[in-house]
């Protein structure tokens, strides 16, 4: 409900969000895919962008990367300050635009003017604006940047004038110059603070409404110049180290990996070695547990192997003879009779 106006308030030139007015019936499901606790506005916004650009095959705002940054709330001098850590922007990412998205609503501590009667002359037909004392008509949003691990208040990077909306509303402002200047100076911790804090910005962690639901966020549209380089997908998406520090290398203990896929691959390779070392029939014993060594060939009917599929079907007599052998066999090792072996040796 209250989220809808926020989308239309986003600057279309900066975000390319004209298409966001399209019906998105699956947004709830999509947001749920992010998991509990992540169903905030930034997640929904990113899912919208993803769905839009996946469906239409265009790149968001001519860029190939959109990064979102959630705010971390801190209270300084009884005022809410939102901090953004932009350090995850890569050197290869050329920032095109940056937008600041925030939710504003009239503060509750100021008297609501809905009950104020209109002057008699204007009472008929037209709505009237309340004359009761209220919040200041304009607020200022101050952006400061500071380097990492800095205790200073930060350098003032810019101020935006905001009009307080008559009701709760999501809005967006272009802060490209602020973010670009901060990045140029290597100050990638950005703070946002209202010079007069309405109620929507004062809510702390103990408030009944989840802070993340209305927390402001930043979207950075960038062109990653390294994305066309070889292996770029692995650089950003492959996150596991084949030789993590503190763990033995795979060749020392192939089954000790925490990754089940690695473990499975190692187990497969161990199985592949088995038939070569112990003369077992390849493919027949794939699913048996190590402790199980009984002659239960009938179980292999459940797991047809390539070996069984390609083996020529024996005659009835041979099958009967083989059946007897199977009942008495202690293992699945090929059992050559002595005469055959003697013939072979003579040859």
């Amino acid at each position: 409900s209250h989220m809808a106006p926020g989308w239309s308030a986003a600057p279309a030139a900066a975000t390319g969000m004209r298409g966001d007015k399209d019906p998105q019936p699956s947004l709830g499901d999509a947001a749920a895919a992010l998991g509990p606790g992540a169903q905030d506005m930034v997640a929904v916004h990113m899912l919208r962008l993803y769905e839009k650009y996946s469906r239409r095959g265009v790149q968001p705002g001519g860029s190939n990367t959109v990064r979102s940054f959630r705010a971390r709330l801190e209270v300084v001098d009884q005022k809410a300050v939102y901090l953004f850590n932009l350090t995850s922007v890569q050197d290869s990412e050329m920032i095109l635009t940056a937008t600041f998205h925030f939710y504003l609503e009239p503060p509750r501590r100021w008297p609501q003017a809905r009950g104020v009667p209109c002057p008699p002359a204007r009472a008929q037909g037209t709505s009237c604006r309340p004359q009761a004392p209220g919040p200041p008509a304009r607020l200022h949003l101050l952006f400061r940047s500071l380097p990492q691990n800095s205790a200073t208040q930060g350098l003032l990077r810019g101020a935006l004038a905001l009009a307080l909306p008559p009701r709760g509303l999501w809005q967006a402002r272009d802060i490209s110059p602020i973010v670009k200047a901060a990045r140029r100076d290597g100050e990638l911790l950005l703070s946002a603070q209202l010079d007069a804090a309405p109620a929507a910005w004062e809510r702390g962690p103990g408030s009944p409404r989840p802070p993340s639901a209305h927390a402001p966020y930043i979207l950075i549209y960038a062109n990653d110049l390294a994305i066309s380089e070889p292996n770029s997908v692995a650089v950003t998406l492959q996150r596991y180290d084949p030789f993590p520090a503190g763990e033995p290398e795979p060749r020392a203990a192939p089954n000790s990996s925490a990754d089940p896929r690695v473990r499975r691959a190692a187990a497969s390779s161990a199985q592949a070695l088995g038939p070569l070392q112990d003369n077992e029939l390849p493919g027949l014993d794939e699913r048996r547990s190590p402790e199980h060594s009984g002659p239960d060939y009938h179980k292999h009917e459940l797991w047809p192997s390539p070996f069984r599929a390609l083996k020529p079907r024996p005659g009835r007599k041979e099958r009967r003879r083989k059946g007897q052998e199977l009942l008495t066999a202690a293992s699945q090792v090929l059992d050559f009779d002595e005469k055959t072996m003697q013939k072979a040796r003579r040859r």
Binding site: A30, A33, L34, V42, A43, M46, L47, L49, Y50, Y53, S54, G57, Q59, P60, N64, T65, V66, R67, S68, F69, R70, N85, S88, D224, I227, S228, S232, V233, T236, L237, Q238, R239, Y240, D259, R261
Partner: protein, 110 residues
Amino acid sequence: QWDEPRVCSRRYLKVDFADIGWNGWIISPKAFDAYYCAGACEFPMPKVVRPSNHATIQSIVRAVGIVPGVPEPCCVPDKMSSLGVLFLDENRNVVLKVYPNMAVETCACR
């Protein structure tokens, strides 16, 4: 895939990110149709395998057999499409990146 043609062509391949262990941070898509190229680039190469001029010459040289060790041209992706991936970065922020050359559209002998 026994019925698939021996000649170089695009084959179906669906990649599930869970299968390569990337599902922990990729939000969407869970899987995508990547396809792959496979098949022979034997002499004479038909137009359907879209041979490059170089591949045509290499194929002839190999067929004539005057230069030992020259292999067949390779069956490789020709046109490819990009894929948008929504994922969580190391700080758990949601990122959308459009990666080029993620899925095969056509194959060719090159």
